[in-house]
Amino acid sequence: MRVDPILRLIVTRLSLAFVSLFAVSLIIFSSIAILPGDTAERILGRDATKQSLEALRAELHLSDPAPLRYGRWLAGVVHGDFGRSLVADRPVLPYIGAYLGRTLVLGGLALLVHIPLSIGLGLLAAAKRDGPFDIGMSIAVLIGMSVPEFVTGIFLVLWLANDLHLFPPLALIDQAQSMGSALLMLALPVMTLNFAMTAYVVRQIRSSMIDILRSDYVRMAALRGLPPSRILLAHALPNALGPAINAIALNASWLVGGIVVVEVVFNYPGLGRLLVESIRFRDVPMVQGAALVLSATYISVNLVADLLTLLINPKLRTRTA
C-alpha cells in the first residue's frame, strides 16, 4: 500500500523531534551533573555546613549513579512530576506552567504583530523599490538586525514610556483592568521583539518579490492588462510567501531564545526570566524543568515551521537552511 508521502514526511519529522527532545533532556541533565566538582557543593557553596550538604544529597539522591538519577527524573517528567524547587520548597511544575503561559502570551502577541507587519512592509518596499520608502526601509532593516534587543528595549522604555508617556513603563499585567490596558503594557516588549525579527522577513519578502515581479509570469499578467494590485496580491504574493514563511518560522524559533533577554529587560515574569533566576539561585530542579520546557517549545515551534514550509512549497524537500 502506498503511504502518502506527506504523511511519511510528517511522521519522520515528528520522530526526529522526539529524538531531539530526548537528546536535549540528556544534555540538560548531564551539563549539570557531569560538570566537575561536587553537585551539592556547587549548589550550596563551598562553605556550606556538612549538615545541609548531607540533607541536600539525600533529597536529590546524589549518591545514586547519574544514569539512574537521569532515568528517575525523566520518568517523573513524563508523569508531570518535575520535582521540587530547592528554593521555593514547592513543586516545580505549577511554576513552569504559569511562567510558560506568560511567555507564550508575549511571544504569541509578538508573532501576531510580526506576521502582517513584516509582510506588509516587505510588499510595500518591493512595490516602491528604490524609492525613498524603500531606502528608509533598508536602513531600518539594517538597524533592526544590528541592534541588540536589550539596547532596543532600554531605549524604547526611555523614549516612549518615560519621555513621551505613551506606554506604562512596567508590565504589571495584573494591574490591567481591561484587555486594552493589558495590551498597552505589553506593547513595549512586543515592539522590542519585533524590531529584531521584522528586519529579516522584510528583507526576504522584498527580495523575493522583486525577483518575482521581474519574472515572465508576472510580466505576462501585466501585459494582459491586470491591475497592479491584483497582480501583487493574487499572483506574486503566493510565490513569495514560501521563503517568507520560512523566515517567519525561523523567527518564531529565534523568539524562544531571544525572549529571555527581553523578559529580563522588562522584568516580565516569563519562563526565560525564571530560567535566568533559577540558574543564579542554583535551583537545580527548576533549572532542569525550565530549560527542558523552553527547549521543547523551541523544538515544537521548529517542527511546525518545518512542516508548514515543506507543505507549502513541495519543491523544498531537501533540508532548507
Binding site: M145, I154, D211
Partner: protein, 297 residues
C-alpha cells in the same frame, strides 16, 4: 541599495575561482567599503587603546560621578567617576577579541568538519548531520546560560561556548559548499590522478570554499558580538571592573536617571559595530557569490 543577496538558490560558480581584482571591486558596494573602513577604525582603536584613551578605564574619580559630557570627559563619567570614553575604548578590545576568537573558533572547527563531511559523504556524514541537527535543536542561549551559569562566567569560557555553539551552522554551510565543489569535474580529475584526500581537500576544495568560509566568519562575528553582548548584559560575561559593553549597559541602566551616557555610549558602539559587520558581510557576499544560507542566527 540594490537587491539584498539573500537568495536560496545558487552555488559557487566555477568562474569565481578566477575572480580578478577588478571584478571584485566592481561588485563591492560603497556601503560595504564604508563599513570596512569603520571596522578598520574599530580594530585600530582597540589595538591602540592605551595610547588613544584619555584615562585608564578603571581609574575611579577622575571626575565626580555622573558628569555630563564635557571637554574633559567627552562622554561624561559613570557612577564611580570613571571616564566613559576610556571604558568604551577599552571595551572595544574586549568585544573584538572575544567575538573574533569565537567566530574564528567556529570557522576553524566548522570549516574542517564541513569539508570532511562534504567530501566523504556516506554513513559518517548522515550520522554527523543528525547529531548536528540535534545540537541545533537547543536554543543556544539556554545552552550558554547553563554552561556559563554553572561553571562561572569568565571571558574565555564565554568565548569558547559561543564559538562552539556556532560550529553546526558553519559546518552545514561549508559542507553544502563542499558538496557542490566535489561534484565538479576538476575534483574527479584530481581523484583520477591519484591525489591523496588530504591534498584534494587542501588544493582543490579549500580554495573554492574559502569564500564561503570567509563569509561565514563574517556572519559569525556579527552574531557573536550580539550573543556575547547579551550574555554580558545578563551578567554572565566578563566580570567587573572589566569594561565589557554589555555589562556596562546593565550596570548603567539602574541609574539611567542620573545620567544616560554610561548606557548610551556602549550601546551605540555595539550597534554601530554590528551594523558595520553586517554591511561588510553583505559586501563580501557579493564577491564570493550567494551561498546556501538561512537567516543570520
Amino acid at each position: 541599495m540594490t537587491d539584498a543577496p539573500i537568495s536560496a538558490r545558487g552555488v559557487a560558480r566555477p568562474e569565481q575561482r578566477h575572480s580578478g581584482a577588478v571584478r571584485l571591486f566592481r561588485r563591492f558596494p560603497i556601503s560595504a567599503m564604508v563599513a570596512g573602513i569603520v571596522l578598520l577604525a574599530y580594530v585600530t582603536i582597540a589595538v591602540f587603546a592605551p595610547i588613544i584613551s584619555p584615562y585608564s578605564p578603571t581609574d575611579i574619580f577622575v571626575g565626580s560621578p555622573f558628569e555630563p559630557p564635557s571637554s574633559l570627559y567627552l562622554l561624561g563619567t559613570d557612577n564611580l567617576g570613571r571616564d566613559v570614553l576610556s571604558r568604551v575604548i577599552y571595551g572595544s578590545r574586549t568585544i573584538l577579541l572575544m567575538a573574533g576568537s569565537a567566530a574564528g573558533l567556529s570557522a576553524l572547527i566548522g570549516g574542517l568538519l564541513g569539508m570532511q563531511l562534504g567530501y566523504r559523504g556516506g554513513l559518517v556524514d548522515e550520522i554527523a548531520m543528525r547529531i548536528l541537527e540535534i545540537i541545533m535543536s537547543i536554543p543556544s542561549i539556554i545552552f550558554a546560560l547553563l554552561i556559563v551559569g554553572i561553571l562561572g562566567a569568565s571571558a574565555p569560557l564565554v568565548t569558547f561556548t559561543v564559538g562552539l555553539l556556532s560550529v553546526p551552522n558553519v559546518t552545514r554551510v561549508v559542507r553544502a559548499a563542499t558538496q557542490s565543489v566535489v561534484a565538479e569535474e576538476f575534483v574527479t580529475a584530481a581523484r583520477a590522478r591519484g591525489e591523496t584526500s588530504l591534498s584534494i581537500v587542501l588544493r582543490e576544495i579549500l580554495p573554492n570554499v574559502a569564500g564561503t568560509l570567509i563569509v561565514e566568519f563574517s556572519i559569525r562575528t556579527g552574531y557573536a558580538i550580539l550573543f556575547i553582548g547579551g550574555l554580558g548584559f545578563l551578567g554572565f560575561g566578563a566580570q567587573p571592573p572589566t569594561p565589557d559593553w554589555g555589562l556596562m549597559v546593565n550596570e548603567g541602566r539602574g541609574m539611567i536617571d542620573a545620567s544616560i551616557w554610561p548606557v548610551v555610549s556602549p550601546a551605540v558602539c555595539m550597534a554601530a559595530l554590528v551594523t558595520a559587520v553586517n554591511l561588510f558581510t553583505d559586501g563580501i557576499m557579493r564577491i564570493f557569490g550567494p551561498a546556501e544560507r538561512g537567516r543570520i542566527s
